[in-house]
Symmetry: C2
Subunit: 347 residues, 2 copies
């Protein structure tokens, strides 16, 4: 499955848009539940089935989503599931075969709707660069559109009701994926994260909750939604992101002015290894691509585009690699295939 | 000084000759002293002066050495001295400005004669690859030739007399410079060195006595000369060298059959770093060149010739670099100039 997507970069990762040298992407997720049906954690199979059916019908009736594909969990195998996780279209524990769930994906992958994740619907909207306003607007359009067919569980006092209390209210989580290589190199990252956390935001790794930070890529998102409007939340995140960008830019300037040779050496070595290595782990690729990404942003290196870096970031992941070569690979064979893919991309 | 030599590879480092994939060069040195003059460690300035004069005259009369140049220590500055050490034409402590000494160098650098080192004459003969027989023959021809003009201190019982008792007899030290990257990678190197040492040979680093092993390059030489003929000594070394080559080849085969991907990755990464780094220390260059040299020998990589590897090995050393750029460089500027030189060579 998903053969048409395998070699393609999602259009929210094209390194376009505001601040694309630092912010890879913006993301807004709305949690919604259908009135009168048990929330997924408490729903039996019949109920879960009903939810999937209802949503599939609503999607077919949607003007916003007339294109795109809906896939039910029973036809998704392990490799496809991993593939969707790697593309950040579904969350890591979602869509196991027996869970009666589904995923809608728009052709440009800027919209992905998980059905029967923690809530009945998780409407995700993604965009390249720092573009939370547009991304939110798109999510709200989808939400409005689906609300014409589906009646969402809404409380006049609390707002939208969700499985987890932290989502009650707008059901909104806004997040950005940001590359903080400068702050990591100047070792200021911990104090910046500390600062962000004190402002009520959550900082995670590339793969979300519980994931390690690889490639100096951080996901920053709001924690709670109750009592705040959608635009309040995204504007607050946008504002803090601009502050973090400022810190990151200062760190980069400091590196260039105080350690030009070292930083340039680090960047070019990373490029040299990517260009020639025969064995590469996912973690190493991400860290080397981080250095190359920094090199492009600092105009130290122009052998490769930011878009190609994003492409390698996604396409070198295990499931993508296996889809690329067309067969299941052992971890060590993946490391070889990954090095080959990266080498060919940079050749 | 030595401007014509700066960018040139010595002709005993051209990666030609027998076993050139493993043995870089062969070297024979004869220690000789002039009868009736105090040995250098005990000689006063007048005596040292006399030795230099005698040798210079003898060199002028030599048919074997009519070409080539003789340089007295007083005109050699620190940079030139370091340059000659890096080219392996003089020993590290030789030719300090006030020592009244001299160095003869043949145009192809296959012959270098140190005057007033530990002995009055140290006739050095060098050749590319494993070529001890030819190298010895060349040294002996020079010796015979000079003996027509100079009367050497010779005892019918002991042979040639020398400052250090280990050299008494033939005054010969034969050595080979050998690249044992395979044995280092398989971690068998210590037991091989142990074996060599038990056979009465000495194992040293690239820069001779007391130097560290960089780039997996080892100098192996005989320890004593008394009671053995010149050809006995060189044949014994040649025989043991063949044995070591056998061990090294076995190690290389083992690496290729058991760890093809790892070894190929290591080699290509080294190449990638050399090709792109902006800062390189001497030690790192030597270690990376070692991997590339192994890659060429194993036919894993053919982007660069063995001769070019040898050239980078020599030309990336501190004094060579400074002569190359035409000015004195701080160690950190040298690391940058070194990376530039290597990058340009590989471009």
């Amino acid at each position: 499955m998903f053969d048409n997507m395998t070699e393609r970069l999602s259009s929210w990762l094209t390194a376009e848009g505001a601040e694309a040298g630092i912010v890879l992407s913006s993301r807004v997720r709305l949690a919604r539940n259908i009135k009168g049906l048990s929330f997924p954690p408490y729903a039996d199979d019949d109920c879960r089935e009903k939810v999937v059916d209802f949503v599939e019908t609503a999607l077919q009736k949607s003007r916003e989503l007339e294109r795109g594909e809906f896939h039910r969990s029973e036809i998704i195998d392990d490799l496809d599931r991993s593939f969707l996780i790697e593309r950040h279209l579904i969350s890591p524990e979602f869509m196991r075969p027996d869970t009666i769930s589904g995923i809608f994906i728009s052709p440009d992958e800027k919209i992905a709707i998980m059905v029967n994740e923690e809530d009945h619907l998780r409407i995700q909207s993604m965009g390249s660069g720092l573009t939370l306003t547009d991304t939110l607007a798109r999510a709200m359009r989808i939400d409005d559109d689906l609300a014409r067919t589906l009646e969402f569980d809404y409380d006049t006092d609390f707002g939208f009701l969700t499985s987890c209390p932290t989502n009650v209210g707008t059901g909104l989580r806004a997040s950005i994926l940001i590359h903080l290589a400068g702050l990591v190199l100047t070792k200021e990252i911990d104090s910046v994260i500390d600062h962000i956390t004190k402002l009520g935001l959550v900082v995670r790794g590339f793969y979300g909750e519980g994931s390690d930070v690889w490639g100096n890529l951080f996901q920053i998102s709001n924690q709670t939604t109750l009592g705040r409007s959608e635009s309040d939340i995204t504007e607050a995140l946008q504002k803090i992101t601009r502050q973090i960008i400022e810190f990151e830019n200062q760190a980069r300037e400091q590196l260039v002015s105080q350690a030009q040779d070292e930083i340039s050496d680090k960047i070019w070595r990373a490029y040299g290894i990517l260009r020639h290595a025969r064995v590469l782990t996912t973690e190493e690729v991400m860290n080397l691509l981080s250095a190359v990404r920094l090199g492009i942003a600092l105009e130290i290196l122009n052998e490769v585009s930011m878009e190609a870096v994003n492409k390698m970031l996604i396409l070198s992941q295990p499931a993508h690699l296996q889809k690329h070569v067309g067969r299941v690979l052992s971890p060590s064979d993946r490391d070889i295939a990954r090095a080959t893919l990266v080498r060919e991309t940079l050749a």
